[in-house]
Symmetry: none
Subunit: 207 residues, 4 copies
Amino acid sequence: MKADERKEAILKCATRLFSTQGYYQTHISDIIKEAQIARGTVYQYFTNKDDIFITIVDTFFDKWRDMISFELAKIDLATISPKGYLRHRILQTLIFLSKDSDLCNIALRLGLGLPEKVSQTINHFEQKIMDMIADDLRFGQQEHNVPDTINVDTTAAILTGALLRTAHHYFVNKRKAKGYNAKEIEKIADDFVTVFTHGIFLPRDKN
Amino acid sequence: MKADERKEAILKCATRLFSTQGYYQTHISDIIKEAQIARGTVYQYFTNKDDIFITIVDTFFDKWRDMISFELAKIDLATISPKGYLRHRILQTLIFLSKDSDLCNIALRLGLGLPEKVSQTINHFEQKIMDMIADDLRFGQQEHNVPDTINVDTTAAILTGALLRTAHHYFVNKRKAKGYNAKEIEKIADDFVTVFTHGIFLPRDKN
Amino acid sequence: MKADERKEAILKCATRLFSTQGYYQTHISDIIKEAQIARGTVYQYFTNKDDIFITIVDTFFDKWRDMISFELAKIDLATISPKGYLRHRILQTLIFLSKDSDLCNIALRLGLGLPEKVSQTINHFEQKIMDMIADDLRFGQQEHNVPDTINVDTTAAILTGALLRTAHHYFVNKRKAKGYNAKEIEKIADDFVTVFTHGIFLPRDKN
Amino acid sequence: MKADERKEAILKCATRLFSTQGYYQTHISDIIKEAQIARGTVYQYFTNKDDIFITIVDTFFDKWRDMISFELAKIDLATISPKGYLRHRILQTLIFLSKDSDLCNIALRLGLGLPEKVSQTINHFEQKIMDMIADDLRFGQQEHNVPDTINVDTTAAILTGALLRTAHHYFVNKRKAKGYNAKEIEKIADDFVTVFTHGIFLPRDKN
DNA sequence: GATGAATGAGTCTTCATTCAT
DNA sequence: CATGAATGAAGACTCATTCAT
């Protein structure tokens, strides 16, 4: 087997394992068993375990960027509608992510290997949030406040992702020493609601 | 120090450490150093490391649920508008999450401890997606397709979270053996765009 | 067993092993087998293998320094003869080194673990030099050029050690880019011979 | 390149590396990188790593022996004075050792590759002994007990080498089960001092 | 002869957990 | 209850050597 093929084979096995078991619970032993190679062979192609993982994510990222550029070149920015533009972007990204479930799992950092029991606990938490949101949406549809046209499943995922990430963005990444005050949080909530009330396009948008 | 206080003290230290360094990179040694107790003492209150972590997340979840019930009881479902309802829900959750940055980080599973270098790689990936989305939004505002009233920062976080979680929901959680076909993915993308085009409320909604 | 005793026990075993098998051929496995402790115990007292070795040498060095100071304080510099002074120094150092054969071997860096076969080759080389010198000395005694009073064995060791270290001192430590020229080497040889011709005391020295 | 040249090239590179980094810290990888050959090629000329090292030392030893014989043949034993004889031997050996700093370092076994930190510790020890001896000598010169004609630098190296090797000779090589007693050590010290008091030539020696 | 990919036994080191005091 | 010394299974990584091309 040629060097490139071997490297590729290792990455392939490692990707599946990292995705399934997470970073810490994927051991070199697992990788070599899966790839049917000797322990030392791994280290002929990668300096260490990190290197394997980083290579996977970096490659994935590069492919994503290439895809983005490639797709961007295909559309006519002068004529496409904003909605069409958004749809195009979303669709391409989804298609891209759908191609490799393992990479999707890794890159979305949602399966990075906590011990089974620990993992369940968190999943349970997130699921509860999503369920609650789905219930709210269904109730809204019954009450005719929420249009029947929206997909409850997708929208619940959207709102959960949106909510958790927004929280993370402000309260972890842009965390403030003395925390956020009531006013500031209300502002964030209002910005949040605005998006989901009117959408993100101007009303005169007829597309 | 009483048993309850001691247990609480351990959890407090563990929470900060788990949030900062992640599950695997937080060692019992770190916890006992921080809590200034002996190694064996930890095992008098918790059966093992997992138990500590699970206790933290479970407690957090219970508090969240209590908060939800409590807040739900305070509003009058008969009179509140759908938008008001959404705003209320979002606001309470954000307030709740804002109170404890560490717990927020843990529960959102975004800081669960990969080695520094590895962590950076993924952060970089997510940041790029968010940056790209923010750029799109700003461009939309210049072209007057996107209202100036939306907050680019928040909306970028919303869209990133929404997109990644939607992808994860379908392509990892509800993954199909033979993958999704083009039609199915287009359907998801359309559902996605719909939400962000019209919002999630019926047009007759005047609130 | 108390912490101090255990640490001491580990050092004792390690010292013997390092001396016998050298640094690289002494494995943690050997040490724990010898000390009858668990693998992890070693790392409770030392950060790593180097730390053990360095602790041994440093302790030895400290003891030597203390001995030197202590002995120096006991002699009266105003009345002692130079020869007496030299004798005192040498004797104290020899007594010190004689106390622990293993430490002597380690500190003198003459047995620091090359593989057996490799070690033999070098020993052989050094032995030949020493043998040759001893032969020269015995021949000198037969010819009545060398006094019968000198101890051939000791003197051969002296000359071998003196010669090799002098060479090392100049040709390795104080090595010159373009090497030493004939004149310079003759100077070193002359200085060398001077010491062994007249001794290192002035002729008027009657002690 | 011919077989002999290739073998020579490998030995040359290996010699420098062994001298610089020591036996254990010189890896086949280092040698092939330096010699710009393939990994397998080394094993076409040498059976293993030891073989390379032993070849180096053996070759060095053979050269030394040849030199000794050659030089011995040039002098007239009937007429040369004992001092002249010693000078001749010392000078030839020094010239020989001065020619190849790396080989000198290897053969003197003073740089055979302990990890840097470990190595420093021992160097420090040896240096302290040498410094102390040099101080003693300088003090002796001030007091006019030691002739100004001796070279302090060289003599310190001589005494250090002499002392350490003598200790090694008796306490390691010829070690006794129950150690040496005070009387025996005094005897060694006296023999040692004798050499450095009167030199190793008979007083009637007028050379 | 030359190559360099592959091998795998062998090392150090880590760290959650136990248990005698 | 609290302590912290002791444990040892488990894991990452190394590197001399082999062998098919």
